[in-house]
């Protein structure tokens, strides 16, 4: 199938701004699903609220556009009640880690087989540029007009600590790597977290003098390195990309199947 067979073409051009990284993530996701040869009937996408959340409207899957921060909770109900479905949950950074932070760590703790993609643009875009839990110290936002004094989460560290069994990071510049990691995340038998640094030229870029979309992609190229690169030793501020954790661990739906067997014996 072609990539366009996986989208709802009537909604294009999409609503994202020119140069928005979220479009690149959608693009890579569609290529990944195509490469894996997945059946649309088996695909479910559940999103929350925000710019990122609009992604579920564009894919021709079973799609659910839910509440701010709650996408993983809805998705948990879907996956538990029909474990054969492939459930992908794209989230914005505020969506995943502010209002949805609790759902995020608990989904990771359960190790339920779903793919959480944190589309990290370091800003609340839809509401017009307020700082997010991933904006970081010193960043400018409409609610941080004097510079942000909130520190940011490290999504990878958080996901690992919470128990996610596949944890990776990349950027919208590294598109081949992005497709590869999405495929790995989808096929992983457990809770997968993929953080994708995604440019928001409109709100983050403009307020933080980061330039336009092209400049922001160049920055991703320059300021990120593969895990284990020597460059990181010389320059600790560089952000690492790649797979941080990938491990076999009992998956929640399969554990529940075992629990059903136990309960039936007792009956």
């Amino acid at each position: 199938m072609a990539v366009k067979d996986y989208i709802r073409e009537r909604f294009f051009p999409h609503m994202w701004c020119a140069g928005c990284g979220h479009g690149i993530i959608l693009n890579a996701l569609l290529h990944s699903v195509d490469d894996l040869g997945l059946n649309k009937k088996d695909m479910v996408m559940v999103s929350g609220i925000g710019c990122s959340a609009r992604i579920s409207g564009y894919v021709d899957f079973h799609s659910m556009h839910t509440l701010h921060g709650r996408a993983l909770a809805f998705a948990t109900g879907i996956k538990m009640s029909k474990p054969d479905l492939n459930v992908i949950v794209p989230m914005g950074d505020g969506d995943a880690l502010a209002i949805g932070g609790n759902h995020f760590i608990h989904a990771a703790r359960r190790n339920i087989e779903m793919t959480a993609i944190v589309m990290n643009n370091r800003i609340y875009g839809m509401t017009g540029g307020q700082f997010s839990p991933l904006s970081g110290y010193g960043a400018m936002g409409t609610t941080a007009p004097y510079g942000n004094i909130d520190h940011d989460f490290d999504v990878v560290d958080l996901a690992v600590a919470a128990g996610a069994t596949f944890v990776a990071r990349t950027t919208t510049y590294h598109v081949h790597e992005l497709s590869d990691l999405i495929q790995q995340a989808i096929t992983h038998k457990g809770f997968s977290v993929l953080e994708v640094l995604s440019q928001c030229p409109t709100h983050f870029g403009r307020r933080n003098k980061a330039g336009d979309a092209v400049d922001m992609l160049k920055m991703y190229k320059k300021r990120t390195v593969r895990i284990g690169s020597d460059k990181k030793k010389a320059d600790p501020d560089l952000i690492e990309r790649g797979v941080f954790v990938k491990k076999d661990f009992p998956e929640y739906c399969r554990e529940y199947d075992q629990l059903i067997l136990k309960a039936r014996k007792k009956k």
């Binding site: 072609a2 989208i7 693009n27």
Partner: protein, 74 residues
């Protein structure tokens, strides 16, 4: 693997928002923005079929059709 040969750039100008990402990162400077700020393949003969423009396009507006790649039946 033989060298891939370009058949065509399909650029949907109604989807293109003119962000310039494809132009900036094309290793062979094949693409340009036209006077309407829409991407066009100005030098298709230089294309090496790396498909970076297709994959990086946030608007899903570019499709690079090469030999050895599956051609959409549309």
């Amino acid at each position: 693997m033989g060298k891939k040969k370009l058949y065509a750039h399909h650029i949907d100008s109604s989807w293109c928002k003119g962000c310039g990402i494809c132009v900036a990162f094309c290793p062979k400077q094949v693409l340009e923005l036209d006077k309407n700020q829409k991407a066009i393949a100005a030098r298709p003969e230089d294309c090496i079929c790396c498909r970076q423009c297709e994959l990086r396009c946030p608007d899903l507006a570019i499709e690079v059709i090469c030999s050895k790649t599956e051609v959409s039946n549309e």
